[in-house]
Amino acid sequence: MSSMTDLTALTISDLRDGFRAGSFSARETAEAFNAAVVSGRPLNAFLVETPDHALAAADKADADRASGDLKPLSGVPLGIKDLFCTAGYATTAASGILDGFVPTYDSTITSKLFGAGAGMLGKLNLDQFAMGSSNETSAFGNVLSPWRRNDGGNAALAPGGSSGGSSAAVAARMAPGATGTDTGGSIRQPAAFTGISGIKPTYGRCSRYGVIAFASSLDQAGPMAQTVRDCAILLETMAGFDPKDSTSLDEAVPAWEKSLSPDLKGKRIGIPKEYRVDGMPAEIEALWQKGIDWARDAGAEIVEVSLPHTRHALPTYYIIAPAEASSNLARYDGVRYGLRDLPEGANLQDMYAATRAHGFGAEVKRRIMIGTYVLSAGFYDAYYTKAQRVRALIARDFEEAWGKCDLLLTPTAPSAAFALGEKSADPLAMYLNDVFTVPSSLAGLPAMSVPGGLDAQGLPLGLQIIGRPLDEQGVLDAGLAIEERAGFTTRANRWW
C-alpha cells in the first residue's frame, strides 16, 4: 500500500475495487478502520468493538484473493447496528434489559453480509430499541455527532436516531458503511444529520429475522454509507427472500449497482405540496428548491402532487408503532434472556414488573404504556383500528400520486442536527422530527436520504427520494443524480 493513501477516506466501492486490483490488502483496510474505531471512542458510536472479527474476515479475503475466490464484499469491513443479533457477540438494542445477552445465532442480514466477505468492526450504539430520533435514549450514553456548528461553540450535536451510532461511525470514517434499521425514519434522518447516504428499501425486501423487533409492520433494515453507489452495493447483499421472516418478499434482487444511472430523462418527479409545513426553516425550503433544480437538470419532469393525509401520519405512527412495540416487547420477562430483577420474596408477577421497570428506559416504558392503552379493551377501536384506517388512506395518497409521478422529492428532516438535550425533555417535539420520513414508512415504500448541502451553521442537510414499491432502482438513480450535482464533499473537522 502507498503510505500516502488514507484507507479510511475511501468509499466501499473504492475499497472493494482497490483490494481486487491489489492496491492494498484487506488486512491493511481492516487495521486502518480498527485504529479509527479506537481513536473515535470519544464519539461513543460503538458499544462493542470487534477488531478480531474484522481481521479474521480480512485474512480470509486476502487468502480468497490469492486463490481467485473473490466475494461481493471481500475486503470491506462494516459497522453493525446493535439491533442485529450477532452470534457470539453481545447484542443489547442499547437497553439494560438485554444486559448480558449473547445471541447464539446471526440475523439473516449479518449472516448474508459476513457470507459475502464483509468483516465486522463492532456493534453500533442506537436509541434504546430504536425508539428515538437523537440517540439519547440509549442506556449506554449519547453518541456525539462528529459535526459541530461553525459558530465557534462546541455544542454537542445529535447524530440523529435511531441509527445514530451508524451515522456517526460512517461520517467520522470509523466504518466505510454500516447497517441501519428504519421504522419511521431511523436510517434517513441520521443520514441527513451527518452528511451521508442511507436507504430504507421496500418493506419486506430485507429480512427481519434476528433483528430485534420494535414495530414489525414498519421495521426495515437498510444500509448507510458515504455514497449512493455504496448503498446499492450493500443493499444487494442485504436484500432477498428469507423463509424465516413471514413478511419477507419473494422477489429477485436486482443488480442495483450495475444498473445505476443518473439520467432521469422520462422520469416524473412529484413535489408534494403538503410537505411545505408551517415553520419550516428557509434553508430547508431553499435546499428543496435546489434539489428540484438538480432533478430537472438531470432530465426529470417536475410535477406538483398532493398527499392530503400527510398531517395525520405522525399521530397514526404514534399509535401503531407503540401498539406493536408493547406486544413485541412483552417477551422481555426476565425468564429467557437478559436482565432478571428478583426482589426478596417476590413472586413471578413481581419479578416481571421489577425486571421491566429496571431494564427498560423511560422512552421505552412510555411507548409500551401508550401501546398497552391503545390496545386495551374499550379503546382498541377508537385508537388502533382508527389508526389502521388512516394508515390505509395515507397509503392510498401515495398510490394516487403514482398516477402522476414516478418518484417523490422532499427534504429528509425539518431541520439540521439539533444539540443534545435540546428536545429530549419534550417527547412530542422529538416526534415531529420524523414528519417527512414517517408517511413513506407507513406506506412501506423505498426511500433514501442523500446529502444536499450545508446550512448557515455549516451542518449537513439531506434530501429524501421516495419511490414506488420495489423501485429501489429509481430511488437510487435519482439519489445519484442529486449526489453528482450537489457535489457534497465536506467532512466533519476532526476534533476527537
Binding site: V102, L342, I368, A392
Partner: protein, 95 residues
C-alpha cells in the same frame, strides 16, 4: 379521553412494569399530552376504509409441517438468567 393516576397504574400493571408514585405523577401529563395529540385522528373521515394490517401486498406462505430445527436445548437456555435441569427456572408459582 384522558388518563388519571388510577388508569396509569392499571396500564402499568397490564404492561407488567412496576411504577413508583413519583413515576405515576410524571406519567399522567406525559401520556395525556401524547393521547391528546393522537386524538386528532378522530376527525379524519374513514367511512368505508378497511383497516390496513399489511402494507405491501404479500401472500401468506405455508410450508410443510415438519421440524426444521430443534435439538438445540442448550442454545435455547444459554442466555437464561437461571436454568436448571434443562428448564428455565422461575420463582415458585404454586404455593
Amino acid at each position: 379521553m384522558s388518563v388519571d393516576a388510577i388508569t396509569v397504574r392499571k396500564i402499568a400493571s397490564l404492561a407488567r412494569i412496576a411504577v413508583t408514585d413519583a413515576e405515576v405523577e410524571a406519567l399522567v401529563p406525559e401520556l395525556n399530552n401524547i393521547l391528546d395529540w393522537v386524538e386528532q385522528l378522530g376527525g379524519v373521515d374513514t367511512t368505508g376504509v378497511e383497516p390496513m394490517a399489511s402494507v405491501i401486498p404479500n401472500r401468506q406462505r405455508l410450508r410443510d409441517d415438519v421440524v426444521t430445527d430443534g435439538g438445540i436445548r442448550d442454545k435455547v437456555l444459554a442466555n437464561a438468567p437461571q436454568a436448571e435441569h434443562g428448564f428455565f427456572a422461575v420463582p415458585k408459582v404454586i404455593e
